[in-house]
């Protein structure tokens, strides 16, 4: 079932949580609502579920207006951030809850409920824990029970609020993969909230980037990363280094640093900020013809295939820069602490003086 949200507005007292939000989620989609805390993503999810009423705007489930429909009649599956399992019920009773609350005429017979619960617990690989209480489960197990419970009534819409937020890194990764897989198995339209860029990028097939109650960009993970629509999106998706300086038509300067840039006339002379992604620069023991950006190595962290370096500019500001090198490059260079190196950016994102994104440029 597709979900459509039309110009939703929601305020809490003087605070505007959502400002004119419109969104389309196609049937069968797995969409991530990504944004920093306070961006309104959870409020949007709760409005779609019917737990909050919007001040203005409409919510549609497959062309049916559900804006005024009671939460209990919307038949959505919802997974809470803290799982909200019924603490006084066993795992099996938690999963059976929705089926048991059905009106007598619709309620399946006892055996059918039991069979459905077993089937769901097998789906989430929790069939051996059916008799346990929530207090006896780990975070990842609770998460899976919450999911089984949400799926018990075969909802066509599944909403998840920070589904992996409270789990440790390893379990999180495992569950992420598992959720993707599960989504492919059942016919459901899923919308999940996250503040973790990596999570949104890995799990969803569409990302909705939100900020301050507004939708900044909607697109596939690759699209939003490669072609960010705004400075906020660029800023929010992964770490960036902001280099502030002035431009004179051919060269960007800041203190002792120089960088030749051809912007094809897109950037006027004057103040110019450059955004540099950590993996889009190299390091060398000497400057080259285009770039003279001296830095001092202050810290490094070796983890997996990449090495993250912390660099302090030498004579051009004091904001610490972050650069990622692959392991081989790092070993070929093998610099020592406090060595002076030269930063060689490959691609830079220009930011115009009014704060918009300019063209992406290469040195030279």
């Amino acid at each position: 079932m597709s979900i459509r949200v039309e110009s939703i507005r929601k305020t809490f007292g003087a605070f505007t949580a959502l400002e004119d939000i419109s969104l389309d989620v196609a049937r069968g989609g797995l969409v991530g609502l990504l944004g920093p805390s306070g961006s309104g993503k959870t409020t949007l999810l709760r409005i779609i579920a019917g737990l909050e009423t919007p001040d203005r705007g409409r919510v549609f489930f497959h062309d049916r207006d559900v804006t005024t429909l009671d939460a209990r009649r919307r038949r959505v599956g919802f997974v809470f951030q803290q799982y909200a399992l019924f603490r006084h019920l066993t795992v099996a009773d938690n999963v059976a809850f929705g089926l048991r609350m059905l009106p007598r005429a619709e309620r399946p017979p006892r055996d059918a409920i039991r069979a459905r619960v077993r089937e769901l617990l097998e789906l989430v690989q929790m069939d051996t824990m059916a008799g346990r209480y929530p207090a006896q489960l780990s975070g990842g197990q609770k998460q899976r029970v919450a999911l089984a419970r949400a799926l018990a009534l075969k909802p066509e819409v599944l909403l998840l609020d920070e589904p992996f937020g409270a789990l440790d890194a390893k379990v999180r990764k495992e569950l992420r993969r598992w959720l993707r897989h599960l989504h492919e198995q059942i016919d459901v339209t899923s919308l999940f909230v996250t503040h973790d860029q990596e999570e949104a990028m890995e799990v969803s097939d569409q990302v909705v980037v939100m900020s301050q109650g507004r939708v900044e960009q909607v697109g596939s993970p690759l699209e939003v990363y490669e072609h960010p629509a705004s400075r906020f999106v660029f800023d929010f998706l992964g770490h960036i280094n902001a280099l502030e300086g002035t431009y004179d038509g051919t060269t960007w300067r800041a203190g002792d640093a120089r960088l030749r840039l051809d912007t094809h006339g897109a950037c006027p002379d004057g103040a110019l900020t450059l955004y540099l992604r950590p993996h889009e620069a190299g390091l060398a023991p000497a400057p080259d013809e285009h770039a003279h950006l001296p830095v001092k190595l202050t810290a490094r962290s070796v983890f997996g295939g990449t090495v993250t370096l912390e660099l302090t500019p030498q004579g051009w500001g004091d904001r610490v820069l972050e650069v990622e090198l692959d392991r081989d490059t790092w070993q070929a260079l093998s610099p020592r602490r406090d060595d002076t190196l030269y930063l060689l950016p490959r691609v830079l994102q220009t930011v115009t003086c009014d704060g918009d994104l300019g063209p992406r440029v290469r040195p030279g």
Partner: protein
């Protein structure tokens, strides 16, 4: 285990205080009651006044406890589940019966509902109902005095538990009543029982407010605490102490019940934690 002499001294001092302040009076009640033999105690227990007082005390408690149970749950629900203007004021108002002397409460009721007031007169003239110096008035003041207990026990608990489980239930299709019955009530049942025990203890033992509105009619409007006072003034010390012993026994049973409930709850929690993988 205490290791130094001053630790032992402190423990002994505490034990001494317990004996002098708590145990000794209770023992003395029993001693005094039985000072003229068991038959006198039995006679006193079976006297018509005593039986009437026991009945009245139980009737008042039996009405008060359910009324305040429902009221307390509704109030706690209202205060913790909804955001509305005057919510803070309401939570403060709940405490009035705690803060106010019961005698004052009794007098207030007398002024509003008594035969001297316009409302009391109207009730008497048109409906023939007399609230004060009768059972209704005694129940009313007891309800007033004991109404904060259940709500006060529930509010912090329900606040800390939050509303997510209720929201989850609603999203799974549960109606308001189903949500309360299958989700909220099981979460608060132990606290609720504790609140009921406290309410009951207070309702049975209430003296001040009830004495103002009872009118002290022997065999009609005397509850156990009032009867004790009456017998004591009549120099029937065996009767007074027998009634006092009965009241103390009721309090002890209530206390025992509360302890058992608490113990069971802890036990259950421990059991749940022990089996955690």
């Amino acid at each position: 285990m205490p290791r130094y002499w001053h630790q032992w001294a402190l423990i002994l001092a505490a034990l001494g205080a317990v004996v002098v302040l708590l145990v000794l009076p209770l023992v003395l009640i029993a001693v005094q009651a039985f000072s003229q033999g068991a038959t006198v105690v039995a006679d006193n227990l079976t006297s018509t006044d005593m039986i009437a007082a026991i009945k009245l005390t139980l009737v008042v408690a039996l009405i008060t406890v359910p009324v305040n149970l429902v009221f307390g749950v509704l109030l706690a629900w209202c205060v913790t589940r909804y955001e509305f203007r005057g919510r803070k004021l309401l939570t403060t108002l709940i405490d009035i019966p705690f803060a106010m002397s019961p005698v004052v409460a009794g007098l207030c009721y007398l002024v509003v509902y008594g035969g001297q007031s316009a409302f009391g007169k109207w009730l008497d003239d048109t409906l023939g109902v007399q609230l004060m110096f009768a059972l209704p008035g005694m129940v009313m003041v007891t309800v007033f005095v004991t109404c904060p207990y259940v709500a006060r026990v529930l509010i912090p608990l329900m606040q800390s538990q939050g509303t997510e489980e209720e929201e989850a239930a609603v999203l799974l299709g549960a109606s308001g009543w189903q949500t309360f019955w299958y989700v909220t009530l099981p979460k608060i049942r132990w606290a609720l029982l504790y609140g009921v025990v406290l309410t009951n203890a207070r309702a049975v033992g209430e003296f001040g407010a009830v004495s103002v509105v009872s009118g002290l009619i022997r065999g009609e409007t005397l509850t156990l605490p009032l009867l004790i006072q009456m017998l004591n003034e009549d120099y029937n010390s065996v009767g007074a102490f027998t009634a006092a012993g009965l009241l103390a026994a009721m309090a002890l049973v209530t206390l025992l019940l509360k302890t058992v409930l608490e113990w069971r709850q802890h036990h259950k929690l421990d059991a749940a934690q022990e089996t955690t993988p």
